[in-house]
């Protein structure tokens, strides 16, 4: 069977330019699919994975986003006194009330400004969200108007990086550090001191409060405790669920669009593969007659041509995955529809998306290869032996 495989491989090889064109077309379609999957992965990473399973987000009842929410100082105080919250090494509850506002910044190279999230918080926020890590400079000092900016903000808005100035509310702030957050939404945020931010907007309440559980399973007692306290009137959500809800619409929209495109192009790719294989059968008709005269069975002929078609698919999927590897370095930005702020995310390659792409490419090359392979298997032998061959 090694010989038959060599036969298929070399036949694919000698067809040179036609083969290359077919593989190229197939690879392009597969790459579109892979890019859509990577887009979805990137969005997931940016939004869903921004939330960690240990964290719980508290919002005012009825608010769907942090921006639209409000939490009073005394409410925050009550929450921080509850049992069942993880503690810092200093035995303080890891429960941080935050103020989230949107500011307008002009993106490098664009003339219209975009919204950017500014989060007033406390230095413990780095413990609450361990995926956020300083990569340059230092954290802000409490009681000052210093800020740490996300890597995406540094790349797209505040190109000056550390030392840049920006206006937030009534005050002038300056950048002292840059943070990375493993591709999550926090990379598109600006963090600073919560009290300073409240003062510069003249506000007296927070937006939200995020607390950390000792373990993901400790969610229920906290939810019950907050729900039963009539002073609070807050909704309790796992941080993950909050981000998932925010991303659903956008992810669905992008996937739908991408899969529609993929479907249309897949149709073309199948046709291309079919035509190539019909060509291959036509040019080897006499050869097929000869093989049948030697005693090869129709189903063996069928197998030979299916294998050839699958081989085109296999090569195309390798190319597509190669392309996908390169796409990993692409960062896209989109409007986060729930906050109307700018959100940057990276195209992300995962083993699952690689497998799906390979399966898809082999699938369409198989589908495209079936009609010509059946034709080859059914050729009448005597007539096939009569045709002029290669």
């Amino acid at each position: 069977m090694k010989l038959l495989l060599a036969y298929s491989v070399r036949n694919v090889w000698v067809r040179g330019s036609t083969t290359a064109l077919t593989i190229g077309g197939l690879a392009l379609v597969s790459l579109i699919l892979l890019a859509v999957l990577m887009l979805g992965n990137g969005l997931n990473r940016a939004l869903i994975e921004s939330g960690s399973p240990d964290n719980v987000l508290l919002l005012r009842k009825g608010a769907t986003t942090e921006i639209a929410s409000g939490i009073y100082r005394d409410q925050a105080h009550v929450v921080r006194s509850l049992a069942g919250i993880a503690q810092t090494s200093g035995r303080k509850p890891l429960a941080i009330p935050e103020l989230v506002v949107l500011i307008s910044l002009t993106k490098n190279g664009a003339d219209t400004p975009a919204n950017v999230v500014v989060r007033g918080t406390q230095p413990e926020a780095f413990m609450l969200r361990p995926q956020v890590r300083l990569i340059a400079g230092r954290a802000w000092q409490q009681g000052t108007t210093e800020v740490v900016i996300g890597e995406q903000i540094a790349k797209r808005f505040l190109l000056g990086g550390i030392g840049s100035h920006l206006r937030v509310g009534k005050r002038e702030w300056h950048v002292v550090g840059i943070a990375e957050a493993q591709g999550t939404a926090f990379e598109s945020e600006i963090w600073g001191d919560v009290d300073q931010l409240m003062a510069s907007y003249g506000r007296d309440s927070y937006s939200s409060l995020t607390l950390r559980l000792p373990a993901p399973s400790a969610f229920q007692p906290i939810e019950d405790a907050i729900g039963s306290d009539t002073r609070l009137l807050l909704q309790v959500k796992r941080e993950r669920d909050y981000y998932r809800e925010k991303s659903v619409t956008m992810a669905t929209f992008i996937r739908l669009l991408g899969f529609t495109f993929t479907l249309i192009f897949a149709f073309g790719a199948i046709l291309g593969g079919t035509m190539t294989m019909y060509g291959a059968v036509a040019s080897r008709t006499r050869e097929i007659g000869m093989l049948r005269a030697l005693g090869f069975l129709p189903r063996q002929i069928l197998a030979v041509f299916l294998v050839e078609s699958l081989m085109l698919g296999a090569l195309a999927s390798l190319l597509a995955i190669g392309g996908g590897t390169a796409l990993q370095f692409v960062t896209l930005s989109t409007m986060n529809f729930s906050t109307f702020s700018e959100l940057a995310f990276r195209l992300t390659l995962t083993p699952v998306s690689v497998l799906i792409t390979m399966g898809f490419t082999l699938g369409i090359s198989m589908v495209g290869g079936i009609p010509p392979a059946i034709w080859a298997a059914r050729l009448p032998v005597t007539a096939a032996l009569h045709t002029p061959g290669r």
């Binding site: 090889w13 006499r286 050869e287 007659g289 000869m290 005269a293 030697l294 069975l297 032998v381 061959g389």
Partner: protein, 224 residues
């Protein structure tokens, strides 16, 4: 007289092409004993190739029965016929029909893929067959690296590698110059004499036909 290895009993063959029916063989009978070297001569379109195709079961008679190498060819199912063909029939074609992307050895190995032989065994047979046709030094050459005469010798090696009962050769010298043709005919004669092969050869080259034991002149479906 030996037991016949090929026997046509009152065979008719016609093709329907559109409205008209073309009669190729009419009430044709033929008996070829084991070990015979028979040449079939006749003008183009007289039905010579059709006879070979019928012997090999690649085509079916309209009427009559055909026996070859122990079975009633005209009554077998396609899968059984293919297996039988792999075992008992060796084909030599006018245009060699070598696969261009395979080496001489690989081309010769093709029929053995249908046997139960292991790889090592297959290679021994391939070497023996290529040795017999005098191409031991060309086993890794591709068809395009060989002359026409050499290509046809590879074709013959492929036809005999599985030690078939009957060799069917359709104008084996039709595409070759005089010298190469003579070499091929000498080779077929040797296969006949030394290995006692039954050979059915179609040709319209009288020089080639001279090598055969018997010549069947054939015209319009009838023996002349």
């Amino acid at each position: 007289m030996n037991q016949p290895v090929v026997e046509f009993q009152r065979v008719s063959k016609s093709y329907v092409r559109g409205e008209q029916e073309i009669s190729v063989l009419k009430d044709f009978s033929l008996s070829i004993p084991q070990g015979q070297f028979l040449a079939i001569m006749g003008p183009s379109g007289s039905g010579k190739t059709t006879i070979l195709n019928l012997v090999a079961g690649l085509d079916r008679p309209t009427q009559g029965t055909i026996h070859a190498a122990g079975i009633a060819v005209s009554q077998q199912g396609e899968t059984d016929l293919a297996r039988w063909r792999a075992r008992h029939i060796g084909f030599v074609f006018q245009f060699y029909n070598l696969i261009p992307v395979l080496t001489a050895a690989e081309n010769v190995e093709l029929p053995l893929l249908l046997s139960k032989l292991a790889r090592r065994e297959r290679f021994k047979h391939v070497q023996a067959a290529l040795g017999l046709v005098g191409l031991s030094d060309r086993i890794h050459h591709y068809p395009r690296q060989l002359s026409g005469g050499q290509e046809q010798r590879v074709g013959i090696a492929r036809a005999i590698v599985s030690d078939p009962t009957i060799l069917l050769a359709d104008e084996p010298t039709g595409n070759l110059d005089r010298t190469a043709a003579q070499a091929i005919m000498a080779l077929l004669t040797r296969l006949h004499q030394e290995l006692n092969k039954t050979i059915l050869m179609v040709t319209h080259d009288p020089h080639a036909a001279d090598y055969a034991q018997e010549i069947l002149h054939f015209d319009k479906g009838k023996v002349r």
